[in-house]
Symmetry: C2
Subunit: 487 residues, 2 copies
């Protein structure tokens, strides 16, 4: 593999871009990880050689299975280990003979159990791997997602790559981020879930992602670290080069307890983590939803340095609430300047002096069709830095006309949206129950319209509240970044 350099960090390329993978404990049993991981490689059309290893089958999922690592012809770069703890030491002996570079130990029930014999076994595993020069990811983790190579650790992960890199101690949380992010339009360069961090740890991963040209944005979830100084240095190295959005898991009493039994992490002093995130320039968020909201902005929008918004769409109450939430989040809504008022006078002579920012669109009546001309006024005006368009699902019409208005809203956004131009952010309601016959039709329309916007690259938020909170942090990031550059 010619991309592998001699630097220590580049050894991880063997996990993200291996020429060959052995799935040890590969299986036909649909409840087992040996089943899932092999199936993911097949479904994602992994580009190299796939070697299922399991002495009990000759064929697994249509592929020739090998009774042991030693029977595989040629060398193996990367091993996904799905067997139980008591088989790991012997596996490492076999891996050494096959010149394996990295082993992903999906295998759990090591130190995170808190049991003495499991902690001792984990220690022996590390010692043996180090003796052989084999690197370990995990144990107790989901390992690698690399859409470019065709490696995944969950179902429904996109086969197309993007520029978001994911470093998550928790595999379940990483799965949620990737699956839900994919539906929101996000795509990822690569992801790693690294569990107990026995060998490859958060510091090494941060340095790797800092250097990784295919990653422009980093999303991370940490439960603990064993070396605060190295961690801070690594985090700062990445954050100096690209936006980093981070969750610290295990902040309170119960959370620390949970982190300890989850990945054997020592959650540590929370104030120190907070300061480390702040000083490194990483953006701390509290849950996956907040992370997705921020990622959407970094993924879809150009930098935004100023906070002057125009808001339009929906009725009066919606506009008032939007204005309050925006201002509370630190976003300014400048009143309509004279030239926009003047242009509105030509468009809607009966309403122009009553219109404001936020722009209530509920009372346009027969002139509603002229709304399509309004976004351009804001986008062309030097008085506004971005435009938020709320859907008008609060319109009082019956289903057919209600749907027509919702679709008009989408068309208005798409006709004015330019990926490289002044940003438009859309607010579409959260979908409620499809199962409720009362509203089935309307939620279906909302979904269809939302999908059109997402496919075009428009950031779509479920609520104005989430949008303005994320936007405020996004703008602050770029302001700080700008200051740093000019300092």
């Amino acid at each position: 593999m010619d991309t592998i350099g001699s630097e220590r960090f580049k050894i991880l390329d063997y996990a993200f871009y291996p020429d060959s993978i052995a799935v040890v404990g590969a299986s036909e049993h649909p409840l087992s990880f040996g089943y899932h991981f092999l199936r993911h490689l097949i479904e994602h059309k992994f580009k190299g050689a796939i070697y299922p290893v399991n002495p009990q089958n000759e064929i697994i999922q249509g592929l020739k299975s090998y009774p042991s690592m030693l029977e595989i012809p040629g060398n193996v770069d990367f091993v996904i280990c799905c067997v139980a703890t008591d088989k790991v030491l012997q596996l490492l002996d076999e891996c050494a003979l096959k010149q394996v570079k990295i082993v992903h130990l999906l295998t759990a029930r090591f130190s995170e159990t808190g049991r003495k014999e499991a902690i001792e076994l984990e220690r022996q595993v590390l010692a043996k791997a180090q003796e052989y020069g084999i690197r370990l990811i995990g144990p107790n983790c989901m390992g690698i997602y690399s859409p470019e190579s065709g490696i995944a650790f969950g179902y429904n992960m996109p086969g197309i790559k993007g520029n978001i890199g994911v470093i998550f101690q928790s595999g379940g949380a990483a799965t949620l981020l990737i699956q839900n992010g994919a539906v929101a339009g996000l795509r990822f360069s690569k992801a790693v879930s690294y569990g107990n961090a026995l060998d490859v740890n958060e510091c090494e991963l941060l340095h790797y992602f800092a250097d990784d040209d295919s990653t422009s944005i980093v999303a991370a979830y940490f439960e603990g670290t064993k070396n605060g100084k190295s961690f801070f240095d690594a985090l700062k190295t990445v954050a100096d080069r690209k936006p980093v959005i981070v969750i610290k898991g295990g902040k309170g009493n119960a959370g620390s307890r949970a982190a300890s039994s989850h990945t054997a992490a020592i959650a540590g002093e929370q104030d120190i983590w907070k300061i480390a995130f702040k000083q490194s320039g990483a953006i701390e968020v509290d849950d996956i939803d907040e992370m997705l909201n921020l990622l959407m902005l970094f993924y879809e929008l150009p930098p935004v340095y100023c906070n002057r918004a125009a808001i339009m769409g929906g009725g009066g109450g919606k506009a008032v609430i939007a204005a309050d939430l925006a201002e509370a989040a630190g976003i300014i809504l400048p009143p309509l300047p004279f030239d926009i008022k003047n242009k509105l006078k030509a468009i809607v002579p009966g309403l122009w002096d009553w219109l404001s920012n936020p722009l209530d669109t509920s009372i346009w009546g027969d002139e509603g069709i002229k709304l399509a001309e309004v976004p351009r006024l804001f986008l062309e005006s030097p008085d506004y830095d971005f435009l938020i368009i709320q859907s008008s699902e609060d319109n009082p019409m019956a289903d057919d006309i209600w749907a027509y208005i919702m679709k008009m809203n989408t068309t208005m956004i798409l006709n004015n949206f330019d990926r490289r131009g002044k940003p438009i952010i859309a607010i579409m309601p959260r979908v409620k129950s499809y199962e409720n016959p009362m509203d089935k039709f309307r939620w279906k329309i909302i979904e269809e319209e939302k999908a059109k916007l997402i496919n075009a690259g428009v950031p779509v938020f479920d609520s104005i509240s989430e949008a303005v909170k994320a936007l405020s942090r996004y703008i602050n990031y770029w302001r700080r970044h700008q200051t740093n550059i000019h300092a």
Copy 2:
């Protein structure tokens, strides 16, 4: 109507329970309010007489139409006025002759325009109504929703009544609350959108809802008030008797500006509003989503006075994040007591000493079926006040088994849920795009399972973050309430 007493407040019964309604400006044109409001009465099977009034049609929506109010046989209790501002004075003359008790002035473009002649006309309308002793709701508002009578101001509003009363200055926002609330399982006693509050105002409405036996919970949205002292007294009267959840619209510069052009409201000093809400015992929230979340708890749960939660469901990362969010919101997660540990030892001998609160359910493997026994341990334990069950959509299985686990989750909740017992709160993920073929199957299952829970009366939240914030405020409300009672 024998429910009408002689007290001043009871005059509003004529709006919520009229024997006859005239829709003035009734129409066949599906873009007009005269169309919507007549259609709502027909669809909701209004119990009394319906009189469409419009000189241009003989039949409207299948009903005999009257050229003017004066042609209607007999008296009319309640008028829904959908005609333009210049026709309102004459209409009031006709209403006086028909002994109309209350007129809902849907008609907009009065004082909220800020125009001198519109303000003057509004003044004349009030003077004339007062001269005739006719009460006015509005102008510039959506008026009345009364499921018991069969009156509605929006499509997709439930025909079945509940115990939530809605006092909203904004009709669009009220529509969102009722439509989205309905899908979340909420039902309403009655709602009023009162717009410019020319005659019937927030104070009178608050007193009416305080006395209204069919309303046990009040949801309110105010943009302004003309008399702070009366407002506070009215609000306190309601809040002393029932939970009141309130949004103040028009808090910042842009919001006040928007409120003024929305309902001609003088938004006023925000600190005074905040103090008024606090001292009256009302719960202030910032948007409709937050309001819905709190309403769900008040609607579905018995009072909860203590904050000790057990959380179960989902994998490790999810559990850690849940614990952090819960503790940040002021909810305590006591560690598992000895007797629960002991019972778990019998249920899952290989895992019991590793399990904690929050309870990670991702590693139960073949023993996952035994999870069904766990909720009872928490519900029967004196160490926990309520149980939060997160869905396990982060499980790593393929679609069919993934769906099986999701359904098992629902069954586990339903088998343990008792409306009058210790509360169970469910967390189900927000539905993402149905339009994305990648995830279509999974979101459909989530929707189906969510609907089962909602139909059974389980409060279902879109995220743990929203659930713990709402729960914390809910518990604080009951604690304060308890203190008041014992003081």
